[in-house]
């Protein structure tokens, strides 16, 4: 065993990436029997390629991001004699902002000194809100139609993307940036406390961007020929309307760097690399549920037909976290559906990295390899992709088409 370990350490230079991930003895043995990939001539690094054949595709899921033009609703209202604190409408940023948004909502709930609260909804926002409220000393009952595993949250992709379709710049107004930054920084710290836990609920992996031409900085200036906007249409009509706030936290979130040709292990002329934080849904849900029930939380399976039913709950303070369902339940037409679809390949722990190329993304996580095909007609829709689309039926053919597009780039790199 000692000799084998020594031998493995020797090979780490060539396969640093695969080697670093092999943290258990069992994995080490597996690697000893599978030789690490050998760099192509002229290359310093090689990666185990992600297998993207259609036989690996085991699931296709759809979800609807609840984009709210003004940003998440964190307002309060009273129904009967109940204080309702809203916490919904996080677009494609629900997971990423979950802790910070919960902190704001629970703070407002605590302003009336409740001993116990109700949380409506058990997606990532509801469950995180419930656990944080418990950490702050409250007794919590979650009322929800489904446990987190069957909510839309579980049909996301699982990357830390805190400003993905989270608001539109104009309707959100100038103050939103500060609130967003507060929530993003709080969440980042909370996720950091989950790194390295059993089952890897949160982890970092390398994320590669591949390009046929030298990558350009994205510009987001609006098309002056388009005079319509959210203000006239009730939905955004172009990318420049979306709030992009990530630069506010660039001091903590690793940037993307250009790779020199000898460090680009892919079959594409140009590559960038960034460290990306992501969430493994099964272990993350297990972690939250274990804490929730461990702290004495109660879960009640039930539906709500109208907000008036909140006033029938025994708790005087209610935090409402129903995500896209709030569009109907709260009759809030400012919640705009943004369809998203992911395919899932069998987990490939030997190839734990993500790649995007020609609008197709692969994200290899402990819970599977998420596949997204963002190619559209018309092309390059960007943030507008899926806007206004509330069809939640998956389309497997779109994922298979995406796998075909990205497959050639995953072949061992041609010599530089």
């Amino acid at each position: 065993m000692v000799e084998r370990r020594t031998m493995l350490k020797g090979s780490l230079g060539a396969a640093a990436f695969a080697g670093l991930q092999a943290c258990t003895p069992a994995a080490r043995v597996a690697h000893a029997s599978t030789p690490p990939p050998v760099p192509a001539p002229g290359k310093k690094v090689a990666l185990v390629p992600i297998r993207v054949t259609p036989d690996q595709l085991i699931d296709v899921k759809c979800c609807i991001r609840p984009l709210r033009a003004a940003g998440p609703n964190l307002g309060t209202e009273t129904i009967g004699d109940r204080l309702i604190v809203h916490n919904y409408g996080h677009g494609g940023s629900g997971w990423s902002l979950s802790w910070g948004s919960a902190d704001v909502a629970v703070g407002k709930a605590m302003s009336v000194l409740p001993g116990e609260i109700a949380v409506i909804g058990c997606g990532i926002i509801g469950l995180t809100t419930a656990v944080l409220a418990q950490q702050y000393g409250l007794k919590v009952t979650v009322y929800a139609r489904d446990m987190i595993q069957r909510t839309r949250s579980f049909r996301a992709s699982g990357s830390f993307t805190p400003s993905s379709r989270v608001a539109l710049t104009e309707p959100a107004g100038p103050a939103f940036g500060d609130l967003w930054e507060q929530m993003a920084r709080f969440s980042w710290k909370a996720f950091r406390t989950c790194i390295g836990l059993p089952g890897k609920p949160v982890e970092f992996t390398d994320s590669y961007g591949l390009y046929d031409a030298p990558p350009q900085r994205r510009t987001r200036t609006g098309d002056p020929a388009i005079t319509d906007s959210y203000a006239t249409k009730g939905v955004p009509v172009q990318n420049s309307e979306f709030a992009h706030l990530d630069s506010r936290i660039r001091d903590i979130v690793p940037p993307s760097i250009a790779l020199p040709p000898e460090e680009n292990p892919f079959n594409a002329p140009y590559a960038t690399r960034a460290s990306q934080m992501h969430f493994n849904f099964p272990s993350y849900a297990h972690m939250l549920l274990t804490e929730f029930f461990g702290r004495g939380g109660q879960y009640v399976a039930r539906d709500f037909a109208t907000p008036a039913q909140f006033a029938q709950l025994k708790e005087k303070v209610v935090i409402h976290c129903t995500g896209y369902a709030a569009r109907d339940l709260m009759q809030d037409p400012s919640v705009i559906p943004v369809r998203g679809q992911t395919g899932w390949l069998v987990p490939q722990p030997d190839a734990p990295y993500s790649v995007h190329y020609r609008n197709v993304m692969l994200l290899s996580k402990a819970d599977g390899v998420a596949v997204m095909n963002l190619n559209s007609n018309p092309p390059n829709l960007g943030d507008m992709f899926g806007v206004g689309n509330s069809m939640e039926l998956p389309v497997r053919a779109d994922i298979e088409a995406g796998l075909k597009i990205i497959a050639p780039a995953l072949l061992p790199a041609a010599s530089a």
Binding site: R145, A301, R302, D303, M391, E392
Partner: protein
């Protein structure tokens, strides 16, 4: 909470349904609140507007609710109006608000029939106050209150 609902609760608690209560008395879905033609029209609509997500046999998926059993339990002990309004506002999810009132009533009738609730001689109404008086109850008789609790 509506007056109808208060009444219904009191009646249900007493184990007696709409017998000699003050007008307008609540009615139960066990009393034949839709007619066959309406349910058949609803079945045709279901096939084209609902089945692609909820399944041909209303079986649902892991992600999309089935439209029987637990579904009926979830909407029970409340006016049919709740279910009607929800369908009218939010379904089909890819085109919410696209069902006409009579179509919504037809689909509700179909779902009641599919869940073994009997038809009657008159169609399910589309007007709010009338729908608010009809309480949704499953076909089976309820268990003893203790055993029926779903909160643990």
């Amino acid at each position: 909470m509506s007056m109808a609902r208060h009444l219904a609760r009191a009646l249900l608690a007493a184990g007696a349904l709409a017998v000699g209560a003050a007008a307008p008395a609540p009615i139960s879905t066990r009393q034949g609140v839709y007619d066959e033609a309406q349910a058949q029209a609803g079945a045709r609509l279901y096939a084209t507007r609902c089945a692609m997500c909820h399944g041909r046999m209303r079986e649902g998926t892991y992600e999309t609710p089935a439209l029987q059993d637990r579904f009926i339990a979830n909407w029970s002990k409340a006016p049919v109006k709740n279910l009607y309004d929800y369908l009218a506002r939010a379904m089909p999810q890819f085109a919410p608000g696209s069902l006409k009132p009579e179509e919504t009533a037809q689909i509700v009738a179909y779902l009641l029939k599919a869940n073994a609730l009997p038809s009657g001689s008159r169609p399910l109404p589309v007007d709010g106050p009338a729908l608010a008086r009809i309480m949704l109850e499953p076909a089976a008789a309820p268990l003893a209150p203790k055993a029926a609790s779903r909160t643990k």
